[in-house]
Symmetry: C2
Subunit: 243 residues, 2 copies
């Protein structure tokens, strides 16, 4: 079923008018009278609606049922990824959204090659949020994952460590598996931290341990920086009983 | 450590000469006398070598130690992916190689949009194999996953069903989770079958069940056709005790 995201305040009445990009999207879809669609507030609430007025210039929807989104995972997993080069973060945002991430957090680390200035970062953030919105619509999420940019590695550690289960993946960690990191643990919030192309520095890994992160391996093969977070996210969703 | 793949027959003596693309790669790396590298036969055997003659025109390596590759997973997972559009299979080949897939098998299914002719398929296959080789080198695999093209869906089912654990993922399967599919099972070989952009037809899913496939869900969110196999592969590697 087609899914639209609207600001929560637009989803309070019994009828709603699609505007802006949603209206344009509805026009392309050529929705017919009484056709059903889902309208989500992007925060986990959704309304089953039917088309009350199919005029593409003023598409009006009638709310049939108001409910909590059924596609949101029970566990909140935050993906902390050190800022990579080029379009790799875009890839991770799209895939992590499909896989059910709660948020995607990026930050600088010592070996990050990409160092965008504030202006270009602002533009990128806008683009990243659009990618998250579009992936949320297509994958049937009830919530659009937040994309967050932090100013420093220290800030990422402090914020990430607030989760029930903060885990960092490091290619030089040989003994502690993710299985050990998850086994027998109760968790509702998880932070998964991974490095940039060149990996994290040993000093940075030690800092993360001090901050409360557990350091785990994702196996004996070297994963690319964009593969590691998605592999870890898939496994945490599985371990949390999502599928 | 830098890793080269050579044909098994070149890895029998005490010394070996790097040729072709390996020689070109070694030249770029500017390997020095006594520097250590790994040379793999692509079938799970590897040799720790040191540079005996660093002349870039005739780079000679001395074998120090011959051993079974330590980075190959204990479980053999075959990724069966219905032929997708554009560069999605390239993406899956690269990532599945990193994640430890034994082979990547592609085949036509009813809703496949991509229908390359034999000539273009031959060219693509060559490219796909190069991607697997390059990803195997970079991720430290001891084996280059085979890329296999099958002529029909029926052939894919027959071949895939020979695994200890043949699993098909279907977005309309709501009750059988991958966890149920894996729980308590002993397996050394696994087939993971996923559909193209438009998904598999119900009839195709029934055919797969007849052939011996178990049908599982990957959760309540709709994964893109290139995301599903990598999510499933990550989880199977985790469940098999790889990390």
């Amino acid at each position: 079923m087609t899914r639209f995201f609207v600001p929560p305040e637009e989803l309070t009445g019994e009828r709603l008018l699609l505007t802006g990009e949603n209206a344009a999207h509805a026009k392309v879809l050529r929705l017919r009278l009484h056709e059903q669609v889902l309208v989500c507030d992007g925060e986990g609430q959704e309304c089953l609606c039917e088309v009350a007025d199919p005029d593409p210039k003023s598409m009006v929807l009638q709310v049939l049922e108001r409910r909590a989104s059924v596609t949101e995972p029970g566990v909140k997993v935050s993906v902390y990824m050190a800022l990579p080069k080029s379009d790799k973060l875009e890839h991770v945002i799209q895939k992590a959204t499909e896989l059910g991430a709660y948020e995607i957090v990026t930050f600088p680390s010592a070996r990050c090659v990409s160092r965008p200035d504030e202006k270009s970062l602002k533009k990128k953030l806008e683009r990243w949020r659009k990618i998250a919105t579009s992936a949320a619509e297509q994958s049937g999420r009830g919530r659009i994952p937040e994309v967050v940019v932090l100013g420093s590695y220290a800030e990422a550690l402090k914020r990430g460590a607030e989760a029930d289960l903060p885990i960092l993946f490091y290619e030089n960690e040989k003994s502690t598996t993710l299985h050990m990191g998850l086994e027998g643990k109760q968790f509702q919030t998880v932070s998964l931290l991974t490095g940039p192309e060149g990996g994290l520095e040993e000093k940075e890994v030690a800092q993360a341990m001090d901050a409360g992160f557990q350091v785990c391996t994702l196996g004996s093969r070297i994963l690319r920086c964009e593969t590691a977070p998605l592999c870890a996210l898939s496994v945490v969703m599985y371990a949390a009983g999502e599928f």
